[in-house]
């Protein structure tokens, strides 16, 4: 080219607030939502909405779907989808729970009545999730079937295994060394163990996506799988790892939730995959692949959580929740698409 006067600006540029808001529209929505809820509760004359207890409760109740969102976000960035998450939660919870019961209970499931330490049961839960993830990933990577179909299959089979394994009964009376992961309070009840674990996972997810080769590969595969392959990315191996991460997150969600509620249940996690996918989607993680940030995903989780509890707080019928959730999902994606169109013009 003749002139290269306006060629390169390296390093960081200062961004205006407008640019930040357009890049992080979900955080704007979140803040707006909080402000609206605060005003609404004040008008209604109830107690102030934005209290520590409230926020902490929201966090706690959203840890399960939140972990699924952290998992499925990798999958969606790679232009895939995982419908099996809710089933994996139930399967991992009943299997790990069965190892963490008093002998009398576990004998119902294991004739020998094997009981292990809670930590080993946790590892078993993660392993169950990871294995289903590996199956999902292998199906997607090597048989080339669409991830929607592959995970639809494991979704159905996973739930079936959980019901078969427990004969439809809940696995209760879990040992304390197992429930501690999901039900320990620190700082006099101010900090909850599962919230702490969620924050840790969010940091790990951020680290993987931004600081490792694996993370860069995920974006490249989602952005253009064939181009990634030509550039030396081992697409199949990466896909397997992506689904394995997602499955492992389901396993973790299973253990924490079983711990928090005190029992594992073959119906646990029903429809959670949809909540996880919804949170990631609201958080700006595009089904077209190749884009998405952990911060956005967290905003998505919080938007759904705050919406849910705020509506309850305001005494709105729970039937409305689903309607409002549906509207928010669609609006968030419409806004996001408009932003993308603006960039490409």
């Amino acid at each position: 080219m003749t002139e290269n006067t306006h060629v390169i600006k390296s390093g960081k540029e200062k961004k205006s607030f407008g640019a930040w808001a357009s890049d992080n529209s979900m955080w704007v929505i979140l803040i707006g939502l909080i402000v609206i809820m605060c005003i609404a509760t004040l008008i209604k004359g109830g107690a102030f909405f934005l209290t520590y207890t409230n926020i902490s409760n929201i966090f706690q109740s959203e840890v399960g779907p939140g972990l699924l969102a952290m998992g499925v976000m990798f999958v969606i960035i790679s232009k895939g989808i995982d419908l099996s998450m809710g089933s994996v939660v139930s399967l991992a919870s009943v299997i790990s729970g069965a190892f963490a019961q008093d002998v009398a209970y576990s004998a119902r499931i294991f004739k020998s009545g094997l009981v292990v330490h809670g930590f080993i049961a946790l590892i078993i839960g993660l392993a169950v999730g990871c294995i289903v993830g590996l199956i999902n990933g292998s199906l997607v990577a090597y048989t080339k079937i669409h991830p929607f179909i592959a995970t639809l299959g494991t979704m159905s089979a996973g739930r079936g295994f959980a019901l078969l394994f427990t004969q439809g009964n809940p696995v209760s009376q879990l040992n304390k060394d197992f429930t501690q992961f999901g039900a320990t309070n620190y700082l006099g009840g101010k900090l909850h163990s599962n919230v702490l674990i969620f924050i840790l996972i969010a940091l790990i997810a951020w680290f993987i996506l931004n600081q490792t080769r694996f993370g860069r590969n995920i974006y490249a595969i989602g952005g253009n799988q064939e181009a990634a392959r030509v550039a030396g990315v081992k697409v199949e191996k990466n896909l397997v790892a992506i689904y394995a991460w997602c499955g492992t997150m389901c396993g973790l969600a299973a253990v924490l939730t079983a711990g928090r509620t005190g029992s594992a249940n073959p119906t646990l996690g029903l429809n959670w995959e949809l909540d996880g996918i919804a949170a990631a989607t609201i958080g700006g993680i595009s089904q077209n692949g190749g884009v998405g940030k952990v911060s956005g995903c967290i905003a998505g989780i919080l938007i759904l959580g705050i919406l849910k509890s705020a509506l309850i707080y305001l005494g709105v019928s729970s039937y409305y929740q689903e309607i409002v959730k549906g509207i928010i999902i669609v609006v968030a994606v419409v806004l996001d698409n408009r932003k993308m169109m603006g960039k490409q013009a």
Binding site: T2, S10, E13
Partner: protein, 501 residues
């Protein structure tokens, strides 16, 4: 109607951060072929998109057959007699040719029921018009790119438009198909239609066009009859300066063999391909579209499975099963289809440069050394003078030439011993083209081995030390630089004579 069928006056269009068009003017006569020229980013495509209603203009007037118009969408434009053949094909691969031809305006019996018979027969007639005898029931996805292109052309013709815009229509056509296209263009012209012809290929402009309008950086430079112009004067108008020699061949020492291919085969695609590549050599591959050149290279690079034969590098046999194996063995490949196998559109320029070399930046505990990665990527980006607002800009918003330079930078960063370039300058402007040519020549001068596939005869003849010619999956000859003539190479490419070696 007056002298012109179409006048676009003082058209301006701004995109965020770019003034794409700045008061440009285009006047097209009926019954003539009008070349619209300029480097990539000059605003040709934007002007055409304003005309057919894909973009809306900020200012300006469009006068079609004496009446002012401003089309809100392409359908209105089509119905008013303006059709466009886009550079990027958008076929529906899993539908038949006739479905593709008539999509959105299928002939019907009554209101709902398709008239399949009429559709079939009309398709047959239309295909015959563009010199194709394929069955209209064949799925478009099974056709070659060239045939898909001809179908686009047939579709545009079928609208019976007064103004037909052709954006790089020959970029995937062979010479004989191009001749066929030119026949169609001449016939349309003689019927009184106006054709706006966008192309980077000078010889085509001089062969088919009557008049040319040149833009540069979104501004109008001038309009003149082709008979008053020369290649040099046109290029000067386009780039605003004399262009350095288009093919800056540096004579350099041809060293020892670096890559050796023996009896490489892949049933249905190619057979018995054997050659040696030396250090410092540019080995050209010529042939018609479909001769199997790309498939040979994809096999060497691990994108396809090989069924027979062996590949040696520096005397050692390689076992390459995927591109990452090839990259580990210091082989790079700039692929033919930039969109499909090149760019990761939503990712930044920086990520697009560093992706193939990312393993070099993995530090302890798998943490990427971001600083080193951005610095080196930016260094190569600057070296190739890539024009981008920032390094973080998504590559999709760059012009084709700049995208291609990003991909070249990607491979340079891996420091390959062997670089395969497949149609390295397809669809990019003259300036970027000459830059890419000199990058390739310099790489050879540094002692790397280069394999270059090109369908542009002047390019491959200007750059290569030797040319291997292929026809229908077989090598038909190896020509040394001193024996290069277009006739000789074309003969080998077109006629399956006895194997020369």
């Amino acid at each position: 109607m007056g002298e012109y069928v179409l006048e676009m006056l003082n058209v301006s269009k701004a995109f965020p951060g770019v003034q794409a068009l700045d008061g440009v003017t285009l006047r097209v006569r009926p019954g003539s072929v009008h070349a619209l020229m300029g480097e990539n980013g000059a605003g040709k495509s934007t002007l055409m998109k304003c005309l057919i209603g894909i973009n809306s203009m900020d200012e300006g007037t469009i006068i079609l057959r004496g009446e002012e118009v401003n089309f809100p969408d392409t359908i209105t434009a089509l119905n008013s007699g303006v059709s466009m053949i886009h550079q990027e094909l958008n076929p529906i691969p899993l539908r038949s040719i006739s479905d593709n031809l008539w999509v959105g305006r299928e002939p019907r019996k009554g209101k709902f029921v398709l008239d399949k018979k009429k559709m079939y027969e009309d398709s047959k007639a239309l295909l015959a018009q563009v010199g194709m005898d394929d069955d209209p029931e064949v799925l478009v996805g099974t056709l070659t790119v060239a045939k898909q292109q001809m179908i686009e052309i047939a579709k545009a013709v079928s609208y019976d438009a007064d103004v037909i815009i052709m954006d790089e229509p020959t970029s995937s056509l062979t010479d004989s198909e191009t001749d066929k296209l030119f026949e169609i263009i001449r016939r349309l012209r003689d019927e009184g239609k106006a054709i706006i012809y966008i192309s980077h290929k000078m010889d085509e402009i001089f062969e088919i066009c009557d008049e040319a309008t040149v833009f540069r950086d979104g501004k109008y430079v001038g309009t003149d009859f082709i008979k008053n112009l020369t290649t040099e004067s046109l290029i000067k108008m386009m780039v605003g300066r004399e262009l350095d020699a288009m093919f800056p061949k540096i004579d350099c020492e041809i060293g020892e063999p670096i890559l050796k291919v023996e009896n490489l085969s892949s049933p249905g695609w190619f057979a018995d391909v054997s050659f040696e590549l030396h250090r410092g050599e540019i080995l050209g591959f010529a042939g018609l579209v479909g001769a199997g050149r790309t498939e040979v290279m994809e096999t060497i690079f691990g994108m396809r499975e090989k069924s027979g034969g062996s590949i040696y590098k520096d005397g050692e046999e390689l076992d390459i099963t995927c591109p990452s194996d090839a990259i580990d063995n210091k082989i790079g490949m700039l692929t033919e289809d930039r969109r499909k196998t090149g760019i990761v559109p939503v990712s930044s320029v920086l990520d697009n440069i560093s992706i193939a070399n990312i393993k070099s930046y993995v530090g302890p505990a798998h943490v990427l050394n971001h600083k080193k990665m951005s610095e080196e990527a930016a260094e190569y980006g600057s070296k190739l003078s890539i024009k981008t607002p920032t390094w973080k800009t998504p590559i999709a918003s760059l012009s084709g030439g700049n995208q291609q330079k990003v991909l070249v930078a990607r491979w340079l960063l891996t420091d390959p011993d062997v670089l395969i370039v497949d149609e390295p300058t397809r669809g990019i402007d003259v300036g970027a083209k000459s830059e890419i040519h000199s990058i390739i020549t310099n790489l050879a001068a540094e002692g790397k081995g280069i394999i270059m596939i090109s369908s542009e005869m002047p390019e491959v003849m200007g750059m290569a030390d030797r040319i291997i010619v292929m026809h229908e999956g077989r090598m038909t000859g190896i020509v040394d630089r001193k024996d290069f003539t277009q006739e000789h190479i074309m003969e080998l490419a077109a006629l399956p004579t006895e194997k020369v070696r």
